[in-house]
């Protein structure tokens, strides 16, 4: 009984917990609304469509943990998609095109990381500017949607391996990459940097490199997401990734990651991403005319972020005050007895 209480207590304190509950709740709603949703094929379809968002969300989550932000990842997803399809169109081998596409994202990850980590420009605006550069580049390479991904790749992407949908493997790989980092000193450094970068520097942490690394890491994950997206869409589109930039950040906020850095669990970004995917699916499933879908999903994201932020404020009041707590174990000297008063 006490152990149960312990588990309950600990999960209540787990930052990703509210998003897990939301996810389960919305899943149940979906299954009730359309009973076919729980069928393996329908689920696989759902995942195929939403895996890119989840991969990018994991990348953003790691950046958020260092107290940074990256809004260029959506554009990077587009770039990966466009480069991959274009290279395939130029008769490159599959591996060659894959490496070329991933490499293009990593270059921009390195640029972001260098400017934020070493030149110490604010990450918001840096990635805002690079987002425009990357989007422009994608548009330059492929001015209008077109091209084709290799057909066997598209069929493989929607297939199962050992009963597991292939898209899930993309998420598992992404998450495992983070887990490896988490158990190296870098995992500790990321959290420390996010809490206070000057303190981290004084504690002999290579702060600039840590920041550089997380932007490159986020780019790697957005590249994985971009490849997954290509498998899902099947063709090239220079604007395909743009909505992901914002949705991934929203997913992290809903998943309980702090935008101020240092708090949260990467699990939250997965739950948050899947939750957003479910919401959009629900909106689509509710037969709302297509013109209203953007507005409705915008409103839902707005309320999701507002709600999650307010919940955090209630749950973690200490985030708002810098004051250390005082232990009141010891008694002060006898106040009545020794109070020094002038007679």
């Amino acid at each position: 009984m006490r152990r149960l209480k312990n588990i309950v207590n600990r999960s209540l304190k787990w930052p990703a917990f509210p998003s897990l509950i939301l996810l389960i709740l919305f899943f149940i709603i979906n299954v009730i609304l359309s009973p076919g949703f729980a069928a393996p094929n329908a689920l696989a379809g759902f995942l195929a469509y939403n895996v890119p968002l989840v991969c990018v969300a994991i990348g953003v989550a790691v950046v958020l943990l260092t107290g940074g932000i990256d809004i260029s990842l959506g554009a990077q997803v587009s770039l990966v998609n466009v480069v991959f399809v274009t290279l395939i169109g130029l008769k490159w081998s599959f591996m060659g095109a894959l490496l070329g596409a991933v490499g293009s994202a990593l270059v921009f990850g390195a640029i972001n990381g260098f400017i934020v980590g070493f030149l110490r420009v604010t990450p918001l605006l840096t990635t805002f500017a690079t987002s425009s550069i990357i989007a422009g580049l994608a548009l330059w390479i492929m001015p209008t949607p077109g091209g084709m991904a290799p057909e066997n790749f598209i069929t493989w992407y929607s297939d199962f391996i050992f009963g597991i949908p292939v898209p899930v493997i993309f998420v598992v790989i992404s998450f495992l990459l983070w887990v490896i980092i988490k158990y190296t000193p870098l995992g500790i450094w990321i959290l420390a940097t996010g809490k206070h970068d000057m303190k981290a520097y004084v504690s002999a942490i290579p702060v600039s490199w840590v920041k550089f690394f997380v932007y490159v890491f986020a780019s790697l994950l957005s590249a994985i997401g971009g490849i997954a997206l290509t498998g899902s869409v099947g063709s090239g589109d220079p604007l395909v990734g743009l909505p992901i930039a914002l949705n991934a950040i929203a997913a992290c906020v809903i998943g309980g990651l702090s935008l101020n850095g240092g708090y949260g669990d990467v699990w939250g970004s997965i739950f948050g991403g899947l939750f957003l995917g479910l919401v959009i699916t629900t909106v689509l499933g509710a037969n709302i005319p297509s013109f209203y879908q953007d507005f409705v999903s915008g409103i839902i994201i707005l309320f999701g972020v507002l709600g999650a932020s307010m919940l955090r404020k209630i749950n973690l009041p200490e985030l708002n005050s810098r004051k250390p707590q005082i232990e009141t174990g010891r008694k002060p000297r006898g106040m009545e007895v020794e109070k020094i008063e002038q007679r």
Binding site: Y183, T184, P185, G187, I188, L191, A192, G194, K195, H196, K199, A200, Y201, V202, S203, A204, I205, P206, G262, Y263, E318, S321, K323, P324, Q325, I326, E327, T328, R330, K331, P332, R333, M335, E338, K339, I340, E341, Q342
Partner: protein
């Protein structure tokens, strides 16, 4: 081996932090660095620790020239600094914090959790604070945080250890512990630079003492060469050897003065007990106590910065939930943290001075030139940015901003922190003048001597000493001495 510093200087633009510093420490030597606020002690410590880049000067360690490129580089060379600016991360466990600077690894890649825990337990056990190991870092009390900070330094097995003011937040028994550990390090041949204000600690722990004043090292002396008063004179430049028996004005009877502010059952956030406080018109109240015992919370709460409170001000019952209301009601708040809570750095002196009276209380024009001259602020034009002034003058402008509104009660949280002696006196004079006009002043200071000085020449004054969020003593008249303040602010070693 020895560490020698020659002609070190540090300038931030036109601001000089260290003019000229030279000293030499040997293996197994504990050297105190003594100096007033802003004398450059902490900057010196940061330069040796690698966090700050010196503008000039040479540091030699043993026979070779030492160039510290970063804190990481310093740590590689065995130089560890543990400072009053805590470096603990409250989103990580105590154990992780301890090993932050050199995380043990296995397979050269992953964090070796077992070794980490073992080493953390080892050092904490040795210090007798194992009970803190599993406490969340953010729940550590201030003294506990400093002990963990110290443990974090010890675990790195330093060759050169710089202790920057960590003992001022510690309880007596903790200080004893630190003393023993320092003695042990000394036996091992570690050289230690000990920065502290507390004379008793310096005399009991150190072999030598280097005195700093206004960014310069005045000289290094054997610990037995100089008396406490001699050191103080060197530090302040005032001759304190001839102790002036202070002309204590007998404080007037307080019940004759009208009540200005009273509050009952005030419970400060994160403390369990409550406070009653009465302040008379024209009264100056000094608030003393060890860091983190609620002094600053008291004035901040009264100003509406922490919680919703009800106070009785000048005969009227009022509610205060935010500073806007308290300013309208006639309260003023002067923070010692000028940079963060006082000045609008890049805005002009004029804007800084007018900000409250014209924009908030809407009482009209501010006679700026007159006011600045009266306070002795040296300036070229009221349109120059305030951050071109010296720290003391900046603080005077901030104070002037409030004085222009003729506040009923001035709340001050260590307002003279980091400003020079002359400016400090000017601040006291301004506050005295205000009290003469019938306003009340409640001022917190981390410097007990300052409080004694502040309350000495006033008609109506007292000092309240706080401990764990409560008033542990009220001192009046001839009872106002630094000894009485200290004994009331520290718990007896139970």
């Amino acid at each position: 081996m020895s560490l020698e510093i020659k002609q070190l200087a540090k300038r931030y633009g036109s601001v000089v932090a260290i003019r000229q510093a030279s000293l030499k420490v040997n293996d197994g030597e504990v050297m105190a660095i003594l100096g007033g606020n802003g004398s450059g002690k902490s900057t010196l410590a940061k330069i040796i620790g690698g966090a700050v880049n010196p503008s000039e000067g040479i540091i030699t360690y043993g026979t070779e020239k030492l160039q510290v490129k970063s804190p990481k580089d310093a740590k590689r060379k065995g130089i560890v600094i543990t400072s009053q600016e805590l470096s603990l991360f409250d989103n990580l466990s105590v154990k992780t914090n301890l090993l932050m600077c050199e995380i043990p690894r296995k397979f050269g890649l992953f964090v070796d959790k077992n070794t980490l825990e073992k080493r953390a337990e080892g050092i904490m056990g040795k210090m007798g604070i194992s009970h803190l190991l599993d406490k969340p870092t953010k729940e550590l009390a201030p003294n506990e945080q400093y002990m963990v900070e110290f443990a974090k330094a010890l675990i790195q097995e330093p060759k050169v250890l710089i202790i920057d003011e960590i003992t001022s937040a510690l309880y007596r028994e903790d200080v004893e512990m630190v003393k023993n550990l320092v003695a042990e390090l000394k036996r091992k041949g570690c050289m230690i630079l000990f920065i502290s204000h507390r004379m008793s600690e310096i005399f009991s722990m150190c072999d030598s003492v280097t005195v700093m004043k206004n960014g310069e090292t005045i000289g290094t002396f054997g610990i037995n060469e100089k008396s406490e008063n001699e050191l103080l004179s060197l530090m302040t430049g005032k001759d304190l050897t001839r102790v002036e028996e202070s002309e204590v004005v007998s404080h007037g009877r307080e019940d004759k003065a009208e009540m200005m502010l009273s509050i009952k059952n005030l419970k400060l956030q994160s403390f369990s007990k409550s406070i009653d406080l009465e302040v008379r018109k024209g009264e100056i109240i000094g608030v003393a106590g060890l860091q983190g015992h609620g002094q600053s919370d008291l004035v901040r709460t009264l100003f509406g910065l922490q919680q919703h409170i009800k106070i009785n001000l000048d005969g009227k019952q009022i509610d205060i939930t935010n500073p806007y209301q308290s300013v309208q009601a006639g309260l003023a708040f002067i923070s010692g943290d000028r940079e963060r809570e006082g000045v609008y750095g890049t805005r002009s002196i004029s804007e800084n001075l007018r900000s409250v009276k014209e924009l908030v209380t809407k009482q009209g024009d501010v006679p700026e030139e007159e006011l600045l001259k009266d306070y002795g602020v040296v300036f070229n034009s009221v349109n120059q940015p305030i951050n071109t002034l010296s720290g003391g003058n900046q603080q005077k402008v901030v104070i002037g901003r409030w004085m222009a509104t003729e506040p009923k009660v001035v709340l001050a949280d260590d307002p003279t922190k980091g400003i020079d002696v002359q400016a400090r006196r000017d601040v006291h004079r301004i506050l005295h003048k205000l009290a003469e006009k019938g306003s009340a002043v409640i001022m917190v200071s981390s410097d007990d001597e300052e409080l004694v000085e502040l309350t000495k020449r006033v008609k109506l004054a007292k000092i309240i000493v706080m401990y764990e969020g409560q008033i542990s003593a009220i001192l009046k008249g001839s009872d106002i001495t630094t000894e009485n303040i200290i004994s009331a602010s520290m718990p007896i070693g139970v």
